[in-house]
C-alpha cells in the first residue's frame, strides 16, 4: 500500500515534461557551479568552505550574544527590531506594521522564511495586497503555486506555460518570447514598486556588528523593494547571522558560485536601516523581524545544529538524484531538496514526516557541494535513528524493529547465518542454472517489479573456501 508521499513521487516520476525540465535546469546549475569552483578558477574553494562552516558554527554556538549585538546596532541606526517566536507572531508583526503605516499594497522580494510563515495569505486576509516581484516568484504567485526551487521558483514552467498564465491572469496579448514576457512583468511590477507603501524582503545574511541585512539578487527587484516604498520590513530566521561585514569576503564568494554558478550576482545590497540625513531616496522606516519558529529547537540539538548553517544556495537540490526526479512540490513543507529532508522533520516534528529522511539513497552528493559543510547524509542517518526510536516506543508491534533484531541475532551467530542462508533458499523460487529471480515473494516484490534479483549461490563463499583450502583461520593458542 503506497503512502501519500510515495503516490506523489509516482505522479512526479510519470510527468515526463517535469522530468525533462528539472533535469536540464539543474544540470545547467550544476555545470556552472563546477566551472566556477574548479581548482584553476577558485583554488581556495575548500579553504573557504572550512572558514564558512567555522564562522557559522561560532555564530550559532554564541547566538544570544550576536542577536543582542545586532539588536543594539539596528536600533542605533534608527531601525526597529521585532522578535517573533513563531509564524503567528511574525505574521501578526507584519500586519501590525502595515496597519500603523496605512499600507494597502506591499511589494515583496523572494524570501523562503516568508513562505514558511505563510505571510502572503495573512496579508491578503487583512486586506493588504502582497505582490511578489522576483520574476519566478511573480509567476508562481499568479499561478497560486509554491516556489519549485530555492533559487529558480518557476523552474518547472515552460515559456508556453508562462505565456498562457499571463494571458489568463493579466489579459495581455499572447507571446512566448522570454524577453517580451519579462518586459510585460517589468512594466506591471514597476508600477507596483512606485505605488507600494511597504517593501518586504528576506535576508541572505544578517551582519551582527553592522546591524545590517545583506541581500543578493540578479534582477534588481530587491533594490526596488527596499528603496522605493517608505517602509522596509526585512524578515529573517535567527540563524542567518554572521559576526562581521568582513566575513562576507568568504560568504559572498561561496553563495553565488554554489547557487547559480556566478562569481558575483548582479546586485549585492548591504542595508543598515532607514535613509540617512540628506538622503531623499530610501525608506523612512526599517523593521528587522527576527523569527524563531522552531529554529531554537534545532539549535538545542547539538548533533543536528549544523542544519542551521544553511545559506539557502540550492546547490544540494541541483545535484540530488531524488530532487532532480521529483521536484520541489513533492516535498512536504516549505523547504525542498536535501536541506528540506533534514530541516522539515526537525521543524515539523519527527512523527509528521517520517518518510522524508528515508527518501534518499545516501549517495552523499549533497554534502559534497554544501558550501557551509552541512553533513547532510549524517543528518539523515541521525534522523532515521530518531524516527525509528520514536516508532519503537509508540508502536504495539514494531515489525521492522523485530525483524532487525532477528537479523542482528543471526549476524552474531555465524553458524546460524550459514544455515539461515540455506533456509532462505527454501522460500525463493527455484532457478535453473544462472537465472536470476523474476518475481520475488513479500518485500522482494518491490525489487522484482523492475529488476531481477540474484538467487542464493548454491555454495556459499565459506563453503567454497573450505573446499579450496581445507581450513578456516583459527586464533593461535595464547
Amino acid at each position: 500500500m503506497a503512502t501519500a508521499f510515495q503516490q506523489q513521487i509516482h505522479v512526479a516520476l510519470s510527468d515526463l515534461k517535469l522530468q525533462r525540465t528539472i533535469q536540464s535546469a539543474t544540470a545547467r546549475f550544476g555545470e556552472k557551479r563546477r566551472e566556477v569552483i574548479s581548482p584553476d578558477v577558485l583554488p581556495e574553494y575548500q579553504e573557504l568552505r572550512d572558514h564558512a562552516s567555522r564562522l557559522k558554527k561560532h555564530t550559532l554556538d554564541h547566538l544570544d550574544y550576536y542577536l543582542e549585538m545586532l539588536e543594539a546596532r539596528v536600533q542605533e541606526r534608527g531601525g526597529h527590531v521585532v522578535w517573533c517566536s513563531d509564524a503567528a507572531a511574525a505574521v501578526e508583526a507584519v500586519v501590525a506594521i502595515a496597519r500603523e503605516h496605512g499600507v494597502k499594497l506591499a511589494v515583496k522580494s523572494k524570501s523562503m522564511v516568508t513562505e514558511e510563515i505563510h505571510l502572503n495569505e495573512a496579508l491578503e486576509r487583512n486586506n493588504i495586497e502582497p505582490v511578489e516581484t522576483d520574476l519566478g516568484e511573480y509567476i508562481q504567485q499568479l499561478a497560486r503555486e509554491r516556489p519549485f526551487h530555492i533559487v529558480a521558483p518557476a523552474l518547472h514552467k515552460s515559456r508556453a506555460d508562462v505565456a498562457d498564465l499571463f494571458v489568463d491572469k493579466l489579459g495581455v496579448e499572447r507571446t512566448e518570447e522570454p524577453e517580451e514576457l519579462t518586459q510585460i512583468a517589468r512594466l506591471i511590477l514597476r508600477e507596483k514598486f512606485l505605488s507600494a507603501d511597504m517593501g518586504i524582503s528576506g535576508a541572505n545574511f544578517v551582519v551582527a556588528e553592522s546591524g545590517a541585512v545583506v541581500l543578493v539578487e540578479n534582477e534588481g527587484n530587491i533594490r526596488m523593494t527596499t528603496s522605493a516604498p517608505r517602509v522596509h520590513v526585512a524578515v529573517t530566521g535567527i540563524e542567518k547571522l554572521i559576526p562581521r561585514a568582513a566575513d562576507l569576503a568568504v560568504f559572498l564568494k561561496l553563495l553565488g558560485r554554489s547557487g547559480s554558478g556566478q562569481p558575483i550576482t548582479s546586485y549585492t545590497s548591504f542595508l543598515s536601516g532607514p535613509r540617512r540625513e540628506g538622503e531623499i531616496n530610501g525608506p523612512d522606516e526599517f523593521y528587522l523581524l527576527l523569527v524563531d519558529n522552531g529554529r531554537t529547537k534545532v539549535l538545542a540539538d547539538a548533533e543536528k545544529r549544523e542544519t542551521l548553517h544553511c545559506i539557502r544556495c540550492g546547490a544540494c537540490s541541483n545535484v540530488c538524484p531524488v530532487y532532480r526526479r521529483i521536484g520541489g512540490h513533492t516535498y512536504p513543507g516549505t523547504y525542498s531538496g536535501p536541506i528540506g529532508a533534514i530541516l522539515t522533520p526537525q521543524f515539523a516534528g519527527l512523527g509528521h514526516e517520517p518518510e522524508l529522511p528515508f527518501a534518499s539513497s545516501l549517495c552523499g552528493a549533497c554534502g559534497e557541494v554544501c558550501p557551509v559543510k552541512i553533513d547532510i547524509p549524517r543528518m539523515l542517518l541521525a534522523l532515521r535513528r530518531d524516527i525509528k526510536r520514536g516508532e519503537a516506543r509508540e508502536k504495539r508491534w514494531p515489525i521492522e524493529k523485530l525483524a532487525f533484531q532477528g537479523w542482528s541475532w543471526v549476524m552474531r551467530h555465524p553458524w546460524v547465518f550459514e544455515r539461515a542462508g540455506l533456509l532462505a533458499q527454501v522460500f525463493l523460487p527455484p532457478q535453473g542454472g544462472d537465472a536470476w529471480i523474476r518475481k520475488g515473494p513479500g518485500p522482494l516484490q518491490a525489487w522484482t517489479a523492475t529488476r531481477d534479483f540474484p538467487p542464493r549461490a548454491p555454495r556459499s563463499f565459506r563453503r567454497l573456501w573450505r573446499e579450496r583450502t581445507g581450513k578456516f583461520y583459527k586464533e593461535p593458542a595464547a
Binding site: Q6, I9, L13, P321, V322, R325, I326, F358, A359, S360, S361, L362, C363, G364, A365, G367, E368, R378, L381, R384, R385, D386, I387, K388, E400, K401, F404, Q405, W407, S408, V410, M411, R412, P414, F417, G421, A424, W436, R438, A446, W447, A449, T450, R451, D452, F453, P454, P455, R456, A457, S460, F461, R462, L464, W465, R468, T469, F472, Y473, E475
Partner: protein
C-alpha cells in the same frame, strides 16, 4: 612486514556472489599475499544502520570487531562496507569510548580491495588479461566517503586488452541505497534507469564496480532488460588471465 591478509568478504558476497570473494583471493595470492578467512565473520551492520536501527547495528559491529581484533590487514571487496566500518562505527559507539577507540584502531586496518592493492601492495599491474570495452561505475560510498576514484581505474588500465570508457554524467548514484531500493522502489528504479542509459551510451560490454550492492542493482536491471552487458566486480576482471 606481513604478507598475510584477512578476508572480510561481506554478507552479500558470501551468500550471493561467492565468485567475487574467490577472485579477490586469487588476485591477492598472485601478488604475494596469503589469505585467511575467519569463519566468525558475517556482516558490517550497514543494513540496520542505514535503516535507523543503531542498537542492532552496534551489536553486529561489535561482533565484527571481535572477529577481526587480531587481523593485521582486513581486505574488503566493497566500498560501502569499508566506509561503514571506517566512517560509521565511531557513530555507533558514541557513548562507549573504549569501543570507539577499538573501532578506530581496527578501522585503520580495513582496506577496500583496490585501495589495498594500490596503497599497501603498491601494485597497479596484477598480470591480468581481458579483451573488452568496459566502463567503471563509481560507488558513492567509496567515492565520497573514502576518496576512491583513481585506484580502480589505475588497476583496470593495466589489464591487457581492456579499453575503459567513462560514463557521462559520471559519479551518479545507481539507486541502490540499501532498503531505499525496496522502500522507495520506484525512485530506485528510475535512478537505475539513468545509470543503465549511461552504461549503454558508452558502448561498453562490461560495467565494473567495487561494490557488490551496486552490482546487484545494476545487474538486476540489465538482466530485466535482457541486455548483453555484463556486470563484473573489479576482482573478477583482475583475476582473469
Amino acid at each position: 612486514m606481513s604478507t598475510r591478509v584477512s578476508l572480510f568478504v561481506t554478507c552479500l558476497v558470501d551468500q550471493l556472489f561467492p565468485k567475487v570473494g574467490l577472485a579477490m583471493a586469487d588476485v591477492l595470492e598472485r601478488v604475494g599475499y596469503e589469505c585467511e578467512f575467519r569463519q566468525d565473520q558475517t556482516c558490517c551492520g550497514q543494513p540496520a544502520f542505514n535503516s535507523g536501527f543503531t542498537a542492532e547495528a552496534e551489536a553486529v559491529a561489535r561482533h565484527f570487531l571481535k572477529t577481526f581484533e587480531t587481523a593485521e590487514y582486513i581486505v574488503v571487496p566493497s566500498g560501502s562496507c569499508s566506509a561503514m566500518i571506517r566512517h560509521h562505527f565511531g557513530d555507533l559507539f558514541a557513548k562507549d569510548s573504549a569501543a570507539r577507540a577499538a573501532a578506530a584502531e581496527t578501522g585503520g586496518r580495513v582496506y577496500e580491495f583496490s585501495e589495498f592493492l594500490t596503497s599497501v601492495a603498491k601494485v597497479d599491474d596484477v598480470g591480468a588479461r581481458y579483451e573488452s570495452v568496459v566502463t567503471y561505475h563509481d560507488s558513492c560510498h567509496a567515492l565520497r566517503d573514502l576518496g576512491i576514484k583513481s585506484q580502480p581505474r589505475r588497476l583496470l588500465e593495466k589489464v591487457r586488452g581492456v579499453e575503459i570508457r567513462e560514463m557521462a554524467p559520471a559519479e551518479e548514484c545507481c539507486g541502490f541505497g540499501g532498503t531505499f531500493s525496496v522502500k522507495m522502489g520506484e525512485l530506485s528504479s528510475d535512478m537505475l534507469d539513468g545509470k543503465i542509459q549511461s552504461i549503454i551510451a558508452t558502448g561498453a560490454s562490461d560495467v565494473v564496480s567495487i561494490d557488490p550492492s551496486c552490482l546487484m542493482q545494476i545487474e538486476g536491471g540489465l538482466r530485466r532488460r535482457e541486455l548483453p552487458i555484463r556486470a563484473l566486480h573489479l576482482a573478477e576482471v583482475l583475476a582473469k588471465t
